[in-house]
Subunit: 333 residues, 2 copies
């Protein structure tokens, strides 16, 4: 499961909590803070939990940064994290900061729940429909953006994408990663979701497989459609398919929820996701597959349909206002 | 406060939680895991909380370790952490592991409490007595132990201590840091403690000052006695007083609780600490000062009495059975 669920000694309540921390992957420290927070909360949202009682922030300051960069970057990152927490109706009370070679940002989200506050991710039945609430391709977009400065890499992909399109895809990825999955969590209750998980490091197929393994019924997940940030499928192919994006194993950060819904609810879920999430930074949701009788595995069909998800309008002109030089962390490429 | 206390929406309950993570400071990975866990739980214990509903483990594996070291070291560290959690009557369900230049070990401790489960650290009154439940000097001992291999450092302290005594002090520090403050937390209730904190990075005086600042009454803390691991005061002096040990600001890791107790309870608290904690790795507790009327500050008197705390018997012969070469982390010296 995406969270741990601990039965408490008090009146049927459970403590649900999750933690996640990682290294910077976008250059804008404020957006990086938001992404880290969205990524932590996402594990609660995947269980249909819409409230969070408390967050802790986990932070390391890089010893490689000079004082000026540190004083400019770290407060922005912290503010981004706090702002996203506030957007999620919670706040950050506590945490820990250390010095480290690389910047670390992450946190802990905890909530005390009644049983009907969360949806155990094990109730998929044959006939259900699979819905995904964010497009794939964040890792490809982040890397392609770094490659703008690396001629040998850029030369491999420049036939399939323009610099402007890379910038737009990067922006789209950044906004998508910073978007909370909270709207989706709320709609999981309204439309009687049977199970869900969030798509992160193992990619769509990896997490779909994990989710399939946990099901009570003999089901298999079959994925037909892949909503992908525009042009990222072509970039992934052009650079030698190192990401395995259309194979479903390209790593995502703060990806969308993969939700199993009763067939008759899926279209309504998607339509309401679209109307509710547009204001909150979301792009909607896509029906990507079905639940069949099977042996608790997930697969993507041969030649899945690629849904090119266009960037949501051009904020690109103003990008990087807050950005420092690349933040100290591991080399992503 | 050492923890955050979040009022919940359910029946007067509060979520109390804390997080801490740091880098290895002893060479034995199993003991390092225990110390990290004891250090996390200590913040709960400082509030008189004896139970913990859940722990998360935060871990990073060093990219500088080869596969063999990693496979030998990390499972031991995790086992130490889990064993200490079990000793604390809780368990580790969840966490996160990343790759990092340095090893990181730490965690999160969370508990859902009724109001009488915890003691807010703000009730000291003039006439109270200050008690400390572990000896000081862990940082000095850990450094002195490293200096056995550094002739220029060793030459500065060899007139005041033997190699064997350094090893014994290091062992004592390691066992002391790995000891849970849980016994003390339980006795805080039995003997009506008015306030407490745990002694860690800011040293005894730093944390005493923090605690004094939070008091409801106009009080000051005056410290007369410093229980210190045997010979560490001399080592600290011989190496040029770089630690400020007897000045009270030498950093401690997983130090003891500093507890304000009613005068008539303090001796009984210490005596029961001694009888209860000996089996659990503790050495007892010491009356170190008094609470006076004052301006919410703490001070150590001129020429405090140094209580030399002898190591608890010689486990030194068998040391380092589990130890690898020094674990990747920052240079402590």
């Amino acid at each position: 499961m995406d969270c741990c669920v601990i039965p408490l000694r008090h009146g049927g309540l459970s403590l649900v909590q999750t933690t996640d921390f990682f290294y910077p992957l976008v250059e804008d420290p404020y957006m990086m803070g938001k992404i880290a927070c969205a990524n932590v909360l996402s594990d609660l949202y995947a269980m249909g939990i819409t409230e969070c009682d408390n967050m802790l922030m986990l932070l390391s300051v890089s010893q490689k940064m000079n004082d000026k960069d540190r004083e400019r970057v770290m407060p922005l990152m912290i503010r981004g994290f706090r702002d996203a927490a506030e957007e999620g109706g919670t706040s950050v009370t506590g945490g820990q900061t250390v010095i480290n070679p690389w910047i670390i940002i992450g946190g802990v989200a905890s909530v005390v729940c009644q049983p009907n506050d969360f949806i155990l991710p094990d109730g998929a039945v044959p006939g259900d429909v699979l819905v995904l609430t964010k497009p794939l391709g964040t890792q490809v977009a982040v890397n392609a953006h770094q490659w703008l400065e690396q001629p040998d890499r850029w030369n491999k992909i420049k036939l399939v994408i323009t610099k402007q399109e890379v910038k737009e895809a990067y922006q789209e990825a950044m906004f998508s990663m910073a978007t909370l999955n909270r709207t989706a969590a709320g709609l999981m209750h309204k439309f009687q979701a049977h199970a869900a998980t969030d798509v992160t490091g193992f990619g769509l197929l990896g997490h779909a497989n994990n989710l399939a393994t946990q099901q009570r019924n003999d089901v298999a997940f079959v994925i037909h459609n892949l909503p992908i940030i525009a042009k990222m499928a072509a970039v992934s192919k052009a650079c030698g398919n190192i990401f395995n994006l259309v194979q479903g194993t390209s790593s995502e950060t703060s990806g969308g929820l993969l939700v199993c819904l009763p067939r008759e609810q899926a279209a309504k879920f998607c339509s309401e996701m679209k109307s509710q999430s547009l204001g909150a930074g979301g792009q909607g949701a896509w029906i990507i597959g079905i639940v069949e009788k099977g042996d608790r595995r997930a697969r993507i069909i041969d030649k899945p349909r690629i849904i090119e998800v266009p960037p949501r309008g051009s904020q690109v002109a103003n990008q990087d206002n807050n950005s420092a030089s690349p933040l100290p962390g591991p080399n992503l490429s």
